[in-house]
């Protein structure tokens, strides 16, 4: 399972304050909070692609790597999962770190040459074109896993997951068929940093992951609220009758 890295949202549950050094500056931060959050709270910007404050970090993108320890015994770790500890010496922009980040961005640029976000981030790191080979110039998915984690951790239905290993790894529904667990909420598409999850809505029907979802209209204004399945999911979680969700938030 995922190690629960504390986030700013759960500040009050954190351990006692400890001292550590980031880029030569001594700072105080709660123990066990992720290094990424500690660094960002103190004004050290670290780029990320697969981090989201509401989701457990799994360290896929490897952009948030930092160097810890003192020369020559240093180590590259990903800051989104590494806990803040007393006496830690952290470099967020050492040459090794920047080199790793540039390479990661160059690899991602080769994977998804048309992804706007990757182009911008790469350019910010001085990478304008990739020396690596592109398989599919139309590819947009960077396999950050935010959609999968959102579906599992926030929505709580696990309708999609990663499929396969390196050569054909992709985000998919079970057996690439219509998922009966999907409630059509679209959270996966919402959280996707490269907007790659296809999603259409017309005439009261939302289509996502190859499945059509009938949308519920608001009993008051008639605007569509959400797929019926999603409202049923809410009703199940809250224990309220499903009809209580048939009014949109503007008319409530």
């Amino acid at each position: 399972m995922v190690w629960k890295i504390s986030d700013e949202t759960a500040y009050d549950t954190l351990g006692e304050e400890v001292r550590l050094t980031i880029n030569g500056v001594t700072i105080r931060a709660p123990q066990d909070q992720s290094l990424l959050v500690t660094a960002r709270q103190n004004g050290f910007e670290i780029p990320t692609l697969c981090y989201h404050r509401d989701l457990p970090s799994e360290g896929q993108c490897r952009l948030c790597v930092v160097e810890i320890g003192e020369h020559p015994r240093t180590q590259i770790v990903n800051s989104c999962t590494y806990p803040t500890q007393a006496g830690l010496v952290v470099q967020t922009h050492s040459e090794t770190v920047l080199q790793a980040r540039r390479l990661v961005l160059e690899l991602l640029l080769a994977r998804t040459p048309k992804a706007k976000l990757i182009q911008e981030m790469a350019a910010a790191h001085g990478v304008y074109e990739s020396r690596f080979k592109t398989d599919d110039p139309e590819e947009l998915c960077i396999l950050c896993g935010l959609c999968v984690r959102t579906c599992r951790e926030v929505v709580g239905v696990s309708a999609i997951s990663m499929k396969g290993r390196t050569p054909d790894k992709q985000v998919a529904t079970p057996f690439m068929e219509q998922s009966s667990a999907c409630i059509g909420c679209g959270s996966c598409a919402f959280v996707c940093p490269t907007n790659v999850i296809p999603y259409t809505e017309k005439e009261g029907v939302r289509t996502i992951w190859g499945r059509d979802f009938e949308l519920q209209a608001c009993n008051v204004c008639g605007n569509y609220i959400a797929p019926k399945y999603q409202l049923e999911h809410w009703a199940k979680i809250t224990g309220d009758p499903v009809e209580s969700f048939f009014v949109c938030k503007d008319c409530r």
Partner: protein, 617 residues
Amino acid sequence: MPRFESIDHLREYRRQLIAKRDPNQPQVLVCAGPGCLPMGSEEVAAAFREELEKNGLAAKVLLKECGCHGLCAGAVRVLIRPQEITYQHVTPEDVAEIVEQTLKEGQVVDRLIYEDLHTQEKAAHKGEIPFFQGQMPIVLRKLDIIDPTSLDDYLALGGYRALRKALLEMKPDDIIDAVDQSGLRGRGGGGFPTGRKWRICQDALEDPKFIICNGDEGDPGAFMDRAVMEGDPHAVLEGMIIGARAIGASKGYIYVRHEYPLAVSRLQLAIDQARESGFLGKNILRSGFDFDIKISRGAGAFVCGEETALIHSMEGFIGEPRPRPPYPVQAGLFEKPTVINNVETWANVPEIINLGAAWYAGIGTEKSKGTKVFSLVGAVNQTGLVEVPMGTTLRQIVYELGGGIHYNREFKAVQTGGPSGGCIPAQFLDLPVDYDSLQSVGSIMGSGGMIVMDTSSCMVDVARYFINFLYQESCGKCTPCREGLKQILFILDEIIHGRGTEEQLALMEELCAAMASASICGLGKSAVNPVLSTMKYFREEYLAHIRDKKCHALVCRPLLKYTVDPETCTGCLACVRECPAGAISGKKKMAQEIDQELCVKCGLCYEACQFEAVKIE
């Protein structure tokens, strides 16, 4: 089997067991290890059974199918005790002669014994064969003597004596002290001190704690753990129970590959036997300690040998590693403190408890103690399973145990530590094999695979083979490993096809450095070893592929050029008939010519020519 209610009961049972057994009873021990089984050891054993029956010896001679005898090149192997005569390449047809000559007359069957390839000297007894002389079996000690399905066999050789000692004479701290002082390091490849790992887990406050045995051996050409699980399953169990006692775990799991069905069934049988006899379950040997073991089968992913991926797989999730910390000793299986050790590590534990930490620490080098099992495969004359003290040199392993390079070829490199190990060239043959020395030359100990290569191997092709394996097996979770391996494979393919450039070599080096530092788990971090080591020690081969478009080992087909020597060609047209591309033309009884544009470089013409007129360059 009785259920052992007390120490005295076990001691008495063992005493009677040994008293019942005649040390001079003739025994026929047929190897049923991973090497011999597919060569027909079951048929050989059946032939022995029949022949002994026919000769009225069935009651007198003890016939057993054992674990791996070690020297797999001589499959099927048979050991005759008490004389310790070993026969190799035994077929069911030889059985009648062995029974007649050896068991009845006490004579050695000359044609079935070991013969030294270089000196032609013959050796009938196990102790006279150089392959066995250089070894120091601890983990493999019992493999060729005991019947893996018999708990009595294990008990008769002192089995579960260490457990008795650990449960009743030692405190958990004493056990950990012993393992710590023995200097035992993880045999799965990481080399983390086992005692320290146990101590951290023992100190963890959370309950329950778990014990895991990692039997997900997936390296190509490696079968050390398989041989131990199939040949001596009780040793693994005993080690785990002792470990559980030390850290205070009540539940253990053995994670075995589904592709090792025999290991799964032998372990299951051993668990059932141990449970029936009171070595597992509630109140083990009346000591008040409860512990049980369950088998968890892996579904065939190489990456699940990585400890965090293995734990995910056992929990029912996708077998992907996660960043550490937290380490499994802090938050492992079901987020509880978990000690996870490799099969070989566990099998070492009972011996350390039995014979003492000082004894174990006396074997090996300063920082690497004890012995290590290697599966010696590839271009050596005598392939098989060897167990040598740490610090034995590569030269001793390859030349003394392995009997040198086959077909009288020259040694080129040895790859240690599985697919992500480095290729070590001849200049380091005198390197002592231990964790730190191997690392210093760009390779790893790994779990003990050892693939020897001769001059017929092209190192670019070797690197490509292992990178392709790792690319197929990488879980694809983190960017550097997933995308990096794909790009390295692409560059190596370009080089093999003669399209590579020197810039690409530099790019590959840059990429390797980033992968080694930024990947999540050991797979990505060490995946660069085969590339970096071959680029470092065999750079001229890469350059030959890139600059001259030549593969001097004649392995990379796209770079080969087939031509017909007009002087030698008789015009028999044998090659023309074989060529699938219609690339060979010429008149009958006249010299033929190969159209290089049409040639697909399949090599069929080369094989078809009886006059050696087809040349490769």
